[in-house]
Amino acid sequence: MKKTAFFLLILFCSFTTYAQNNDSLIGLPFNMATPDSVVKEIVTAEITNFRGFDFKIDSFKKKKNHKVLAVNYELMNSALAGGPYYYLNTWGAAWEYSTIEEAKKKAIEEVKKPSTYRPGTILFLMIDDSLNIPDELFDNYKKLEQEIANKDKRKFQFANKTVPLNDAFDLTKFAVDVQNGFSGNRGDSIRLNPYFPVRIGYPDGKQDYADACQDRVFYAMQKTDIADTSFFYNELRHLSRRGLYGTYNRSISTVLNFKSEIKGRLMEKISKFSSHLNVQKDSIQVALPPNLRHALENETISEMWVEGTVRVTDDGIPLEKDTLVKPLAILTNKGLYISIEIRMPNTGVYCALSEDFHNKIIDVTVYKKDEESRSKVYSTLMKNLEIEFAKAPLSAQKISKLYPPGEMWMIRDGLPSLVLGNPYWESSTYTFKVYYGGERGDFENVYNREAFKGVSKKDIYSEHAYIFLQVANVTSTKPHKNDVMYVEVDKDGQSKYFKAINDAIESAVQHTCEELKGNMNVSICNVK
């Protein structure tokens, strides 16, 4: 996100510079994009001080003169972003052309290629060797951050408050933690079961992206009256046995570069679930957002109840859990804190996208320009996944229905568990998602690559194109066919499923690689 912010800032400063010299742009109404044909030449600058901004600018600088960076942006107005801002869609670069005009033409072609391109304004940054961008950029960035935080505080006066906030923690600070996408320290994540680490944040962060116009929802912790503590505690003890509740619909992210055209508004169904963590007894390390941690620094957490979200099928069968959970209640040595939810009316547009792809990847750099061959890789991978997951012990079957783009679902429901053996029965779902991380010029792809887990960063090259695979699994079992309900698999069972799933993925990727005549390099298949 910082990278995006830095780049937006540069755009902002560049635009400001331009606007100061061009009165015709000052009156441009927000959300009114100029026609695609209008191309604006903004600033000539050498970018030498990009601290932490991995823009591959060094390699760009080494190229010959007449370097041009073309950026496709939209002018937006968002209260959450502190007012008007420039939303970066795509960017493209060109060099080694004999004239600036040719470089511009090539850059504009490049900027229109990625699927995230939206007809709007294209802005040029021409880069030569004569101008530095000063450190003031970064000072301005800090100022902007502070201004946004201040505006957020002021906006809370419009929030719906379900309870008086007198005793709540510093609501505004905590909400800002959540709003700014606090993701916790990945090393300190808590675990709902041995194979499912989660972090404290706001579950279903995608909803903010998915429905850009919806109200924002936050939460804060309020200490209960001593007289109510016993009542709440008894209620909470039964909470984690409730199963799924609070089902709602969420739009599917359409920023991902889906292969086929998306028609209509795709929806997916989300349910909530809660879990109890015996923090003190089980010696669980809990990483809290900064302000909540600060508020509880003199207290010892003994128990915690958290709420997460899980994507479900139309029939309510769980598919994929979100890795962020919010605290519902925290019991410390000084009292019981209950989460209160605050709904803030949306006054602008806010978009955030966070997709973690893991498990396996296939290097398809050779097919970077060949969509048909990439499509063959997709179908081969999906075919092999279906074959391997249909084999024992997983023995799942493909669900025959229309999936969201880039996905496939398999299920084994109400049948004996071959992983755990007699007498167990299972209800398991497997969600396969693939994502194409294309050219370097596609900013969104580059960003998402860095969220990729499971493969060392040194093995990922920015100029390569990859297909990322993510396999999500939700399994519950029961010891008897006629038992009333399925329950979470115990630790040993989780371990058996984890191994069986990993073996199936390994085998599927291995076979895919062989069929495509590629080389398997640890966890990456390089297609030749």
């Binding site: 049948l415 007699n422 007498p423 010891p479 008897h480 066919k481 006629n482 038992d483 009333v484």
Partner: protein, 145 residues
């Protein structure tokens, strides 16, 4: 039936039934021989074992202060009333366990499940409570101090 035989019958019945039922619930839970979760097995254990152990305690307390004066006398209780209830209560448990195992087969149409098994155990305990336990109190009276 002589008192000696009736006492031996009850003593051995409660000892062996507590041992075998307890061991079965503890050892075989989560296997194909007892398709219950650990929690469900624990619930079953709590339903039946305290009753059996309670009777054992009465019997062994009596044995520790043995008073065999009437051992060769004929019991006033009918033999069928002494022998049948314990046998039937164990039979209920055995049938319920067989039903539970059979119902877990993929092709089985039996509707027996963990809840039914718990109900069978409760029924078995009720049967004992209504019959044999009165006899235990009569045959193994607490020694007056």
């Amino acid at each position: 039936m002589k008192n000696r035989i009736a006492r031996r019958w009850f003593g051995l019945f409660f000892l062996f039934s507590a041992f075998f039922i307890g061991a079965y619930l503890l050892i075989f839970a989560g296997t194909k021989y007892l398709p219950l979760s650990q929690d469900q097995s624990s619930d079953c254990f709590k339903i039946i074992i305290p009753v059996l152990i309670g009777q054992m305690a009465i019997i062994f307390q009596w044995l520790s202060t043995t008073n065999n004066q009437d051992s060769e006398e004929l019991s006033t209780l009918p033999a069928w009333a002494i022998v049948l209830p314990p046998i039937l209560s164990v039979l209920v448990i055995i049938l319920a366990a067989i039903g539970l195992i059979a119902a877990n087969d993929e092709n089985s149409t039996l509707k027996m499940g963990p809840e039914n098994f718990k109900q069978a155990l409760t029924f078995s305990v009720t049967l004992l409570n209504a019959t044999a336990i009165y006899f235990v109190a009569k045959l193994f009276p607490k020694k007056s101090t």
